[in-house]
């Protein structure tokens, strides 16, 4: 069950990845080969098996008291930002 170019274009769009014209056939081939490889799983009998999201059973999401424990790190964290203005991240216009 191989993937088509259209499939790969759709996946790339969902994943927000630009794929160049030159790269496209390579990705179609390699993704198809990966999907064919994992298709083996479809032949396994799993009718009454519970899915396992996590290797340690019985772990629960820990909760903590709703009190402030962090201080403002904005300047430190924004030091890596490509474009910042007045403490906000600058991106191309989103709203027309």
């Amino acid at each position: 069950m191989s993937l088509t170019r259209k499939d790969v274009e759709k996946i790339a769009r969902l994943a927000r990845l630009s794929i160049t014209e030159a790269e496209m056939p390579v990705y179609v081939t390699s993704l198809s080969s990966i999907v064919d490889f994992v298709d083996e799983l479809s032949r396994v009998e799993t009718h009454s098996v519970e899915p396992m999201a996590h290797p340690l059973e019985g772990q629960r999401q820990r909760l903590r008291a709703d009190v402030v424990t962090e201080t403002d790190h904005r300047e430190n964290y924004q030091a890596n930002a490509p474009r910042v203005q007045a403490g906000l991240y600058v991106v191309p216009r989103v709203i027309e």
């Binding site: 630009s18 990705y27 490889f37 290797p55 772990q59 216009r93």
Partner: protein, 484 residues
């Protein structure tokens, strides 16, 4: 010579003030300068910070403080956030990223007085088994520089093997500590899922990732693991269970240990590798262990299961790299979509993009049940197989990799061929089990590793078993020519 000494011996000499931490740091920094160009193992050198940390360690030692890692140098895999120091994850996406904080394991090792010499090269975003996907170029195996050191912790394993540091840190999601340890002849430890904090460790696959150590011996690894392990409230999957004294447990008697030999491990294994594993098993039986054949019938499904689960989780984890808040941003984005698509398209390498797209596909509407949910069910079958085996045996021993190190460039064309390198290691990640790879011989003058896998939180027993083997053999003491 200083770089041939164990962590324990270095700590003893530092405590006795026979050597200083500054002297030790200078020694290893000089080795890195001389030997790293042939390996490309270290991609960020932190010489000034290292000397500052070494001076601080010397002050603590002079004040009478003692500690098993106080003053000891190390190299961190570049997946761990290190405050004020570039943390690239082997990717163009983070080439400009200076981490504003320390990962928990970095902070713990720093608190124990270690001296960070630099950050090691790795497969991009930890995706790879050969350290060929790094933005910074491939790492070379010190045993034969035309060969790969394994991956994704290739830089760390090459650095430990070439003695550029007494030990290095790594991460293991599908075998990325154990497989490179096997290919470079060092002792690599992947702890139980939840044993070591993942806070500050750049996430690849959150239900599989674990941090660990690549050292020259189980004895050295035990000392490091004691410091790295432990509950961390900042990691919601961290387990709150006490950390044993791994060093004290090393000499626990081996007699009567039940070792499971996995039938599925030996199917299709290169015969000379298999012979070395059988030799290792004989060393164990001579020491009083008992071997029992066990079968994990679903284990052959572990590679396809992993290549659904790990890409799915990575597609989610890597969605944060959007060119907005940190990391690579493309030039002159024309709109938001272009910003995302080109920042990610240009910032990520091909293997990362392949895995993100595989993950996106298996999670997408119409395919989620057939792939992701299905893989999670098979994951449970594999985990149950391990659990049943551990009702009969204390640990499993088998090969770490199907062959010794392969040539750089040999497997880059077909992703699936590369994926099959992880065939022996992946099961432990799916089940969250601890695993160790220890050197057990050579084939064509290239190292071969044996793998030990145990039940959850059995690190003490695994380290002890590896230690007993290392007391009876000396494979772990061999060093590649040119790096002695």
């Amino acid at each position: 010579m200083l770089h041939t000494l164990s962590v324990g011996e270095l700590a003893r000499r530092l405590a006795a003030r026979e050597i200083s931490s500054v002297e030790l740091a200078r020694h290893f920094l000089a080795r890195i300068e001389r030997l790293n160009p042939s390996l490309n193992a270290v991609i960020t050198l932190t010489a000034d910070q290292a000397l500052e940390a070494a001076r601080a360690a010397d002050r603590r030692l002079a004040a009478g403080e003692r500690g098993r890692l106080l003053g000891i140098p190390l190299i961190h895999k570049d997946i761990f956030c290190t405050e004020g120091v570039r943390t690239s994850c082997g990717s163009r996406m983070l080439d400009n990223f200076i981490s504003p904080y320390d990962a928990t394991i970095v902070a713990k090792l720093k608190g124990a007085g270690t001296v960070m010499l630099g950050k090691s090269n790795m497969d991009e975003f930890a995706m790879g088994s050969s350290n060929e996907t790094s933005y910074y170029g491939p790492v070379r195996n010190p045993w034969d520089t035309t060969k790969v050191p394994g991956g994704s912790s290739g830089g760390s394993s090459a650095a430990s093997a070439a003695r550029l540091a007494p030990f290095t840190t790594g991460t293991d999601t599908g075998g990325s500590i154990r497989q490179p340890a096997a290919l470079t002849g060092v002792t690599g430890v992947k702890p139980t899922y939840g044993r070591v904090s993942r806070y500050g460790m750049i996430a690849f696959a959150s239900s599989l990732d674990q941090a660990g150590v690549l050292a020259r011996s189980a004895e050295d690894a035990a000392v490091v693991l004691e410091v790295m392990a432990g509950f961390d409230p900042k990691d919601s999957t961290s387990v709150d269970t006490p950390v044993p004294d791994y060093s004290a447990a090393l000499d626990a008697p081996l007699k009567g240990l039940k070792i499971g030999i996995l039938r599925e491990f030996f199917d299709g294994l290169e015969s000379r590798n298999a012979a070395l594993i059988r030799d290792a098993l004989e060393v164990y039986t001579a020491m009083g262990a008992e071997t029992i054949e066990v079968s994990l019938p679903h284990l052959p499904l572990s590679v396809p299961t992993y290549y659904v689960v790990a890409p799915a989780e990575c597609s989610s984890n890597l969605s944060r790299f959007d060119g907005v808040r940190y990391g690579y941003r493309c030039d002159q984005p024309k709109d938001l979509l272009d910003l995302y698509e080109r920042s990610r398209g240009e910032g990520f390498g091909p293997e990362v993009k392949r895995r993100i797209m595989t993950g996106t596909y298996v999670l997408s509407a119409g395919y989620f049940d057939a792939y992701y949910l299905k893989a999670q069910k098979v994951r449970r079958l594999i985990t149950d197989d391990f659990r049943k085996a551990f009702e009969k045996v204390d640990l499993l021993v088998g090969p770490t990799t199907p062959t010794p190190a392969f040539a750089i460039g040999a497997k880059v064309d077909d992703p699936v061929t590369m994926y099959l390198n992880d065939i022996y290691t992946i099961g432990a990640n799916l089940a969250g089990l601890p695993g160790i790879s220890a050197p057990c011989g050579f084939v064509d003058e290239l190292p071969v590793g044996m793998q030990l896998i145990g039940p959850h939180f059995s690190e003490a027993r695994l380290l002890s078993a590896a230690h007993h083997y290392q007391r009876a053999t000396d494979w772990h003491r061999k060093t590649p020519g040119g790096y002695q």
